[in-house]
Every structure is written in C-alpha cells, then in structure tokens.
Amino acid sequence: MSDVCLQAENLHLWRGDRHVLRGVGLTARAGEVLQVVGANGAGKTTLLRTLCGMIQPEEGRITWAGRDVREDLHAFHAQLAYLGHEAPLKAELTARENLRYWIGMRRRVSPAEIDRALEQTGAGAVRERLVRTMSAGQKRRVALAGLLLLSVPLWLLDEPTTNLDTEGQALVGRMIEEQVRAGGIVVAAVHHALMVAPERLKRLELSSP
C-alpha cells in the first residue's frame, strides 16, 4: 500500500501569456492530506485540474503508483474523485437520482447506500428534492455524499468548504480524516485551514505569478 502515491515533478503551464505553474512538484503518499495554499490567483485550481489530467501540462510529468498517468488515463481516473468550484449536479434531478447516475456510472451502488451517504453529509432531508430548489450549501452536501460513495483512494478537492455552515465545515474535516485513515490521499486547495488533526497535514504553498 505504500506505493499508492501521487507524484508530480516540475510542472510547467502557461495560460495565455501567464506562466501559471512554474516548476511545481509534489508528493502525496497514502494516509496524507496535502493542503494547497496560496493567494487568489496563485494557481490552485489550475494545479488540481492538471493533476487529474484535464489540462495537459506543457512540461513535467505526473505519476500515480509509480507510473506516468498518461500511460493509462482511464485506470487513473477510476482511482480519483475531483470536486471543483461547482457541484456536478443536474438541476432537474433529485439528489438521489443525481447520485444514482453519477456514481452508478463508475460502480454498482444500491439505493440504501445512497441514502446512507446523504444522511451522513446532512442532506438526508432533501434527498427527494430537485437540486434546482436547493440552497448553495445543500447542493454542496449532496456533492460530498457523492464523494463518499465513489470510494476511491485519491480525492482532489477545490475549496471543499465553500458555502457550508460551521457544522458542514467540521463534516468535511471528518470526511477527510476518515479517508486518510483508510489509506487514501487527499489533495485540497484551501483558504480556511481544514479541521483535520495536524500530524497528517502537508502544505504546498503556491506563490502568485
């Protein structure tokens, strides 16, 4: 299990004229939380999207369990969950249906499991409601339930506590602790410190370009 490890070396990326990622390197091993911090515009979102293979870096490479992720992108994607600034939910479906289709595409999932996850993230009360009618924080909670259900080792989270109330922020902290305790890896872009026991935390500081 010690070889489950996300590594990036010397990533370079330009957006327009802007050299956004300038030789970023990182290592995240099983059981670790990597906090990506940096001022607004430092490149946190860009880094996360590059790590999950959605943007091709112009230089540098990313390895998962020792192998370049480009060798088998499908297999790598099957191991990761990415949660961006917006929750990937369909406004016209209910919370349950959303999870059924989103998760079901990747693994077999039972309605009971879905309900359990929604309960855990405090979205049990809105499970039959259309996502369109939910408040910003309620949507986030449904997306977090999806994250739990995917049960993959690698989480890439972009400001996961956005729109959540205090209780919800604590929930995210607990979810992350649980994930690394089970041997997973969490890479999270954050502005507010995560509520996680400090011994597991690593920091990667991006400086503004």
């Binding site: 004229d17 050299h19 370009p209």
Partner: protein, 54 residues
C-alpha cells in the same frame, strides 16, 4: 492600347476579375506581414514578463 483595355467588349468582366484577384494576392501579403509583426511583438512582451523578477 484602348483596344487592349476594352478586351473586345468584355472589359466589365475581365478587369474586375483581375483587380479582385490581385487585391487578394496583395492583401494576403499584407495580412501575413501584419500577423508576423504582431506575433513578434507578443513574444517580445512575453519575454519581458518572464524576465521580471518574481
């Protein structure tokens, strides 16, 4: 000379054709030069930005 310019009565069709085609020929040269100049200018600015101490 006049006879040449009249093109046997077809001048209305022949000369505009030639004019348009050579306008296209010349415009393409102009556009290409301008595009090259613009790219050089942009590259120069980019270099200047990279050399700024960060």
């Amino acid at each position: 000379m006049m006879e040449f310019l009249e093109m046997g009565g077809y001048a209305r069709y022949v000369w505009p054709s030639y004019a348009l085609t050579f306008a296209v020929v010349i415009l393409n040269v102009v556009w290409a030069r301008r595009a090259l100049a613009r790219s050089r200018e942009q590259a120069r600015r980019r270099l200047a930005m990279q050399e700024e101490p960060t």
